[in-house]
Structures are given as structure tokens and as C-alpha cells.
């Protein structure tokens, strides 16, 4: 029976090729869009974790409310003790302190007078400790454009674009002008040993990265850090685990003191919660729209096929074939078409998505002024979910379309068949 149906489908291209192509196109689009959106979401989460809030973040309660302004006067103090506690209680995460700050980078001329000056976003990170995750997390080494990674105190790297703007080369000294933890003016000299390009517009426009101990000294916060970040070893955001760690930590630090530590997850701390919910909603809507649209198209295709096969169905009923049997045969045909279309569409969609995952799409012209922490290269993410997300709706839409259009078979009256055939 199956062979009979397949032969019919292969010999009559109008019954197979058009529907298969429609299903394949729809599935391909769904798979590709799903993989692309998952890629954007993953990139957003990873970049935000790496350059901003980690997968979980510990700050003071007071700091959280003004975190966007990097209020170092509200920073954590006694960070070494807090870090030791976190490493002991939550060894599954990699913990590291950070200080974010803003300021100006001033380049002197031969007489020590200001030659060039530009605003910078700064990060004080643990660059020198051998067990620090920062070099890996921030990809400082692979991001070097000129020079090298800081190897000792007093050294820093700056964005390559900033170095060009200031006319500074690796090996030269620049002065950071910022604010101390107590609001006074902070001045500190750094030897710029390298320039970096992270591929994140917000960082590449004007960033300075130095060892956290130098930044602590410069900003008069010897035992302090704005935040302590936690990273999962596989560098993926595990929301349930992050929630669990956060709940356990906060249960133990319930003090009402505004300078007491408090932990937040990436979703809470980054302000991305609404955006992530929106992405999930769009993906669900995408699938629903695909199934509905495909069903309507295939229903229409089924109706046209039924009209074209009006005579064939009439003869089959006239020779005694049961209504239900014909209906089931048409559903089986639809299943075969849906299967073929879904396999083809999934394969092509995954191929496009994989290409975008490997090569990426350069978004720099579109996000050059963006302050969002997101990769310049937009990449898709090929997952098992992306493969299934088009395949199953592809099958469902074909069956639904044929199922609706095939109901017409039951309306054919056997008594009228010969009259219809004669006509």
C-alpha cells in the first residue's frame, strides 16, 4: 500500500513536488530563524556575562540600585574574605572580582602636558593571578591587535580604536583620570602594553583594562571591588542553577544593612529579563504562525488537488473503496510529503544556520553607536531544538491541511457518482 502511494506521488509531480517544496521552504525558514534567534540570544547572554554581570553577581544592596552608574562608593569591602567564602560554598562556579569605572585617559606630550584625552570605560580585572578565569572569559589574549597582554602591575590594554584616536602606541604611558571610591579625583599612570578588539562595540569604542590591584590603588579602594562575578565552567547560562545558588546565598545574607552583599542572576542583574522573555515569545509566535500559514497553504493545495483528482476519487468510490480508506490514504500521502519536505527543509535550514554560525554576519555598520553589550558578528546557533522546531510543525501542517481539505470526500454521494462521471 505504501509503495503504491509513493509510486503515485512520484509519478504525479503536481501531487508531490509543489507541496514538498512549500513544506521545505516553510521548515527551512523556521529552522533558520529559530537558530538565528537562539544565536542572538546566546551571544547576548554570553557577552553580557563576560563584559558586564557574569552569570551570577554579588554586590552590595546599595550598589544594585545604581549599578548602571558603577557607584564605587557603594562597593563591596573585604572582598578577599567574601571571595574565599564563595569559592568554598559554591565550588561549581568560578568567582572573580571586578571594578567597573568611568574616566578619562590622558596622553602626555614630551613635556608632560596633555597631548590627547578621551573618555573611557574601565575594567579592573584579576589579570595576573594564575588561577583567574578572566583571561579566558574576556579573551584578552585572542583579542590583542598590537602588543601583548599585561604581565605585571602598572600595565594595561586599551581598545585599538581608542589607541588610534589618542595616537598612543604599545609601550607608552597614559594617565587615567577618574574618581576615587570617596569621590575625589583619581590619577594613575599606566603603561599601555597592548591594544585589543573584542568585537563588542560598546567595549571597542573606548575601554581600558588593567589589573584589579592597580585599579584598587588608583581608586582608593584597597580591599574593595564593585562586584564579584560567578561563571559556570561550561560558559553557558543555566538559569535554574543560577537561581538556586542565588537563593542559597541570599538566604544566608539577610541583613538589612545597605552595604551587605546580595547576589543576583544574569537575568535580574542585566535588565535583560524582558528581552529574553520577548525572544521566547517571538519564537513561539514564529512556530504558531508557521503552522497556521502552512496549514492554510496546504489546505488550499489539498483543495486544488481534490478538484483535480475529483474524477479519480469518484471512480475509487464507485468501485467500492470506502470513504475512510481514501481519506486515510490521502493522510498517508500527506505524511510522506510532510516527511520529505520537513527533512529537506530542516537540512537546508540547518545548513544555512551552520554557515551563519561559522562565518557570522558583520553587524558593525548597523550597531556602531549601540551601547548594548553584544558581539559585532551576528551568529546563528545550531542545536537539536533548532532541528526539531521545524520538522514537527512541518509534518503537523501537512497533515492538518490535508485533513481539512480531505473532509470533502465524505460529502460525495455514491448515488450521484455516475451522474457526475457522465457529466
Amino acid at each position: 500500500m505504501i509503495r503504491f502511494l509513493l509510486k503515485g506521488l512520484l509519478r504525479d509531480r503536481s501531487r508531490s513536488l509543489f507541496p514538498v517544496l512549500i513544506v521545505a521552504a516553510g521548515v527551512m525558514l523556521t529552522v533558520f530563524l529559530f537558530a538565528w534567534m537562539r544565536g542572538v540570544e546566546a551571544s547576548l547572554l554570553r557577552s553580557t556575562a563576560h563584559f558586564s554581570v557574569g552569570y551570577v553577581r554579588v554586590t552590595t544592596r546599595a550598589y544594585v540600585a545604581e549599578a548602571d552608574q558603577m557607584p564605587n562608593d557603594l562597593a563591596l569591602l573585604g572582598v578577599d574574605t567574601l571571595l574565599a567564602g564563595l569559592r568554598r560554598r559554591f565550588p561549581d562556579l568560578r568567582w572573580t572580582p571586578r571594578i567597573g569605572f568611568g574616566g578619562l585617559l590622558d596622553v602626555p606630550d614630551a613635556r608632560g602636558e596633555t597631548k590627547a584625552q578621551a573618555p573611557v570605560i574601565g575594567l579592573g580585572v584579576d589579570l595576573l593571578a594564575p588561577d583567574s578565569p578572566e583571561r579566558e572569559v574576556l579573551r584578552v589574549g585572542p583579542s590583542i591587535v598590537r602588543g601583548r597582554v599585561p604581565a605585571r602591575r602598572g600595565e594595561a590594554v586599551i581598545s585599538d580604536a581608542l589607541a588610534d584616536r589618542l595616537g598612543i602606541r604599545p609601550g607608552q604611558t597614559a594617565t587615567l583620570i577618574g574618581s576615587t571610591m570617596y569621590g575625589g579625583m583619581a590619577l594613575a599612570n599606566f603603561t599601555v602594553v597592548g591594544t585589543v578588539r573584542f568585537g563588542v562595540g560598546a567595549m571597542d569604542r573606548g575601554a581600558i583594562i588593567a589589573d584589579i590591584h592597580d585599579v584598587q590603588t588608583a581608586l582608593d579602594m584597597e580591599t574593595g571591588a564593585g562586584e564579584i562575578l560567578g561563571f559556570f565552567p561550561d560558559d553557558l547560562y543555566h538559569e535554574a542553577r543560577a537561581d538556586s545558588v542565588t537563593a542559597r546565598f541570599n538566604a544566608r545574607h539577610r541583613s538589612g544593612d545597605r552595604f551587605a552583599p546580595v547576589m543576583g542572576t544574569l537575568r535580574e542583574a542585566s535588565g535583560l529579563s524582558d528581552l529574553l522573555d520577548y525572544i521566547t515569545m517571538v519564537l513561539n509566535a514564529l512556530i504558531a504562525i508557521f503552522v497556521a500559514a502552512m496549514s492554510i497553504v496546504l489546505w488550499n493545495a489539498g483543495l486544488m488537488g481534490s478538484l483535480r483528482r475529483y474524477g479519480e476519487i469518484g471512480v475509487r468510490l464507485a468501485v467500492g473503496e470506502d470513504h475512510g480508506h481514501i481519506y486515510r490514504a490521502m493522510l498517508a500521502e500527506a505524511l510522506a510529503i510532510g516527511l520529505a519536505g520537513s527533512v529537506l527543509g530542516t537540512a537546508v535550514g540547518l545548513a544555512f544556520a551552520y554557515w551563519l554560525q561559522v562565518h557570522g554576519f558583520d553587524m558593525r555598520p548597523f550597531i556602531k553607536d549601540s551601547t548594548m553589550i553584544i558581539d559585532d558578528m551576528m551568529r546563528a546557533r545550531v542545536t537539536l531544538g533548532a532541528a526539531l522546531i521545524g520538522f514537527l510543525p512541518g509534518l503537523a501542517a501537512t497533515l492538518l491541511g490535508t485533513g481539512i481539505s480531505g473532509i470533502g470526500i465524505y460529502r460525495r454521494q455514491t448515488s450521484q457518482l455516475f451522474k457526475e462521471l457522465e457529466a
Partner: protein
């Protein structure tokens, strides 16, 4: 009889108006009392931050109203930091970096040593009569002293505070209270001045409390430890070379 009563009332009102100086006259007398050819001040700035209180000591040499040289004496981290103001230009020198940095643009809006004062405040022409026109809007008691309430409006462009309200001791011509407003009418800072003492024939408020109302915290106290007027100050102090000495 009624006519006589009205004449007496009019004569009394005229006498009162003649006694109350105009706003601009009050400003002139305030400036005359407060400013000298030169001034040497040793002071403490007590900054009540959101987290802790810090005391910063400094010595300033001021020449006229345009030039000033300040050396920070304590705490240890700030010791040796110097500031030089020459007219409209301001530089700071930090011994730890051995750099002299010109403070300009948005940096002027930064706080001085974490206090409630900004560098912009330091750059102001201290003679209010140069920058503001004043009207007397009434009288009010401040700390038990009868004060004239002056409403000041900027008469030059580019000032940090477009309007000010000043409570000036009507006898000593020393401001005891000041509210500073933006052009929009928003209150930005308040200043309370007290512990007024006579020094070398001038009335000097030895203690001031500055509050930036847009910031948290208890404000910044400015305490004058010693002050001397019209002393000779060597010219070399008002040069960039002096910053590195």
C-alpha cells in the same frame, strides 16, 4: 486729622525705604567685607559621604579674585596634590603620577575630593556683584541675626547657578545662608555659614556647610583654621612650575 495721619505714614515709609539699601548696594558691601588683595587660608574640608566621613586639610594662597594656589596637606593619599587657578584656567598636579592635568569641560562638574563642591564652584568669580544683579525681597532671621533676603539673577552667561537667594546679616554684611538654583528653578545647592568672627577688621564666617541637594550624604563642612589678609605672596606661586615644586 486723617490727612495728617496719612502724611505721617508716608513719611515713615519713605524713611524706611531710605534706610534699606538696594540689592546691588548690599552685594557691594558683602564683597567689600569678604574680599582682599590677597588671602592665605588654612582650612579643613570635612566630607560626610554616603559611607564615611573624611577630613581633607589644605592651604590656599589667593591673589585678587582670579588666581589661587592650593596645596593639600592631609590625608596622606592627598598630601602634595596641588591646584592652580589662573583666571579661567584650572590645573591639578598629582605627585603620584607626576602629571599636571588641566581640568576643563565636563571635568569641571566633578566633585572636589568627593565633597559637595565642584571644580566649577571653584572657578566662579567670587565677587557676586560682577555676575549677578540683586533685589532685596524682605528680611528674615537666621541663627538669631536679622538678615536681608536678596534675590540674585545672573547678568552674565555661562554661570553654574542662574539664580541665588542670599540671607545677608544686615549689620555685618556677611551671608549666613545661600540657596543656589539652576535656570529651570531647581534647587541645586544650599550653604549655611556660621561662627562669624572678626579677623583683621573683617567679618569672616569660619564654618560653612555645603549641601549638594542632588547627592545623598550629610554635606561638606568647610572649616577655616586660620586666615590672613593682604599678606605678600610671591608671584612664582601662581605659575605652573610651582605645581611640581
Amino acid at each position: 486729622m486723617k490727612r495728617l495721619w496719612w502724611m505721617l505714614l508716608a513719611a515713615r515709609a519713605g524713611a524706611l525705604a531710605a534706610q534699606t539699601p538696594s540689592g546691588d548696594e548690599v552685594l557691594q558691601r558683602v564683597d567689600r567685607n569678604m574680599f582682599a588683595e590677597s588671602r592665605i587660608v588654612v582650612s579643613q574640608m570635612i566630607v560626610h559621604g554616603r559611607r564615611e566621613t573624611r577630613t581633607i586639610e589644605s592651604r590656599s594662597w589667593q591673589r585678587g579674585t582670579a588666581d589661587a594656589f592650593t596645596e593639600y596637606l592631609a590625608p596622606a593619599r592627598e598630601r602634595g596634590t596641588k591646584m592652580l587657578k589662573l583666571g579661567d584656567d584650572l590645573w591639578t598636579y598629582s605627585p603620584s603620577t607626576d602629571r599636571t592635568i588641566m581640568i576643563s569641560g565636563s571635568m569641571l562638574r566633578q566633585s572636589v575630593m568627593g565633597s559637595d563642591l565642584s571644580y566649577e564652584d571653584m572657578m566662579e568669580d567670587p565677587r557676586l556683584e560682577h555676575s549677578y544683579s540683586a533685589t532685596v525681597s524682605g528680611t528674615e532671621a537666621v541663627d538669631g541675626r536679622s538678615c536681608l533676603v536678596l534675590d540674585l539673577t545672573a547678568k552674565v552667561e555661562g554661570l553654574a547657578y542662574h539664580t541665588r537667594r542670599l540671607w545677608v546679616d544686615g549689620e555685618r554684611f556677611v551671608p549666613l545662608r545661600e540657596d543656589l538654583y539652576a535656570r529651570s528653578g531647581r534647587l541645586l545647592k544650599t550653604i549655611r555659614l556660621n561662627d562669624v568672627r572678626s579677623v583683621e577688621g573683617r567679618w569672616v564666617p569660619m564654618h560653612a556647610l555645603y549641601r549638594d541637594v542632588l547627592k545623598d550624604g550629610e554635606g561638606t563642612e568647610f572649616v577655616i583654621t586660620s586666615v590672613g589678609f593682604d599678606a605678600a605672596i610671591p608671584d612664582y606661586l601662581f605659575s605652573k612650575a610651582a605645581l611640581r615644586r
